[in-house]
Amino acid sequence: MATETHAADAANGASAPGMPQLDFSNWGNQIFWLLVTLVVIYFVLSRIALPRIAAVLAERQGTITNDIAAAEDLKAKAVEAEEAYNKALADARAEAQRIIAEAKAEIQADLDAATAKADAEIAARTAEGEKKIAEIRAGAMQSVEEVARDTAAEIVAAMGGKADAKTVAAAVADRMKG
């Protein structure tokens, strides 16, 4: 350390111990420049740098918050849209059901009407047929009666009796019933 001390002494022109740190002759100089440095850094930081960084950080925080809010908004909108879609789907389904039911009812009504008409026609035809049959039967009965009456009158005449038309008719009618 001895040589060094001399060297340091030679360099500084002062009698300093081994460590330049303990050479108090230059402390004033260092302290002066340190204070200048600290004051400059302090003003640069507190006036320019720190407010600026704080603003940037706040702005970023704001942007992030806004973006999250916007995302929430969009999500809500998506949910809304899905609900609307589901509702429209349900509506459409209900509408379709209604239309189907309506069509069914219409067709049923038409069908009923047609059936009723057909039934009525059938009934009318049946009635007509029955009427005709009844007419024919009545006609046939009348013919039979006539024939029977004539035949009876002839038989009575052939037997030699005198046929009383009224009696013959009554007798035939009586027989026809029985």
Partner: protein, 252 residues
């Protein structure tokens, strides 16, 4: 750094590990006066420039999506801000610019000192003692201004038995006044020791046989010094926060 003063001296193994710390005028010879522009001035000015480049020019775009430099500036801001808030409390945020100044200066002085042939301003007690005394004075004044006489409760340990309290008060008082000493010597001592050790290994490199070992040792020490440069700045800052917390909330 030693060449200019020792160029013509004895050959062979010469160790001048402390010569790198010599304060000398930048222009011309002569004594170092109060306002002389010295290597201290030069490297402090470079530290100021570095701070301005990082914290002002680096953030000049005010980008929401930061550039690399702006990220580092924001990282430094967040690092110190969180430290102040967590360690010293919410009401200490008023002192944040002051603590940020200390941190930025020490961290840049330490890292600039790691550049070969540079001068390490934080290796000088003149610098660290002033830094520590500033913290000490600030903390003491803040303690009395904010709490008045209740600041003295810091030395009156309520959780201890009554009989022990006067003894503890003396110990607390001594430890309080030792704070600036340990605060300053820790920083300067760590920085100075590391740089001196690197210089010693560099001296051994003059012997051809040992030089590979020496180079490896210098590399390893340099790595360690990079760590120390940051850690000491961190320790200085966090201790400042701790002292500030004591001043703001003196009751234990």
């Amino acid at each position: 750094m030693a060449t200019e003063t020792h160029g013509a001296e004895e050959g062979g193994l010469v160790f001048h590990p402390m010569d790198q710390f010599i304060v000398e005028p930048l222009f011309g010879e002569g004594a170092v006066g109060f306002f002389t522009v010295t290597n201290v001035t030069l490297w402090m000015a470079i530290a100021v420039l570095a701070v301005i480049v990082l914290m002002v020019l680096g953030t000049s775009r005010r980008a929401v999506i930061p550039s690399r430099t702006q990220s580092i500036a924001e990282l430094a801001y967040g690092f110190v801000y969180k430290m102040v808030e967590d360690v010293a409390g919410k009401d200490a945020v008023a002192f944040f610019p002051y603590i940020m100044t200390l941190f930025m200066f020490i961290v840049f002085a330490n890292f600039l000192g790691l550049i070969p042939m540079s001068f390490t301003t934080t290796s000088h007690f003149a610098v660290t003692v002033v830094l520590a005394l500033m913290v000490f004075v600030t903390v003491t004044i803040v303690g009395f201004v904010k709490n008045g006489a209740r600041f003295l409760e810091l030395f009156w340990v309520k959780s201890a038995p009554l009989a022990l309290r006067p003894i503890l008060a003396i110990i607390e008082l001594i430890s309080y006044f030792v704070r600036p000493v340990s605060h300053s010597i820790r920083l300067a001592g760590n920085v100075m020791a590391g740089h001196a050790v690197i210089k010693v290994f560099a001296g051994f490199a003059a012997i051809a046989v040992i030089s590979p070992v020496s180079v490896v040792a210098i590399t390893a020490m340099y790595g360690l010094e990079v760590l120390v440069a940051f850690i000491q700045a961190y320790v200085f800052t966090i201790l400042t926060c701790v002292y500030l917390k004591d001043a703001l909330h003196p009751s234990h």
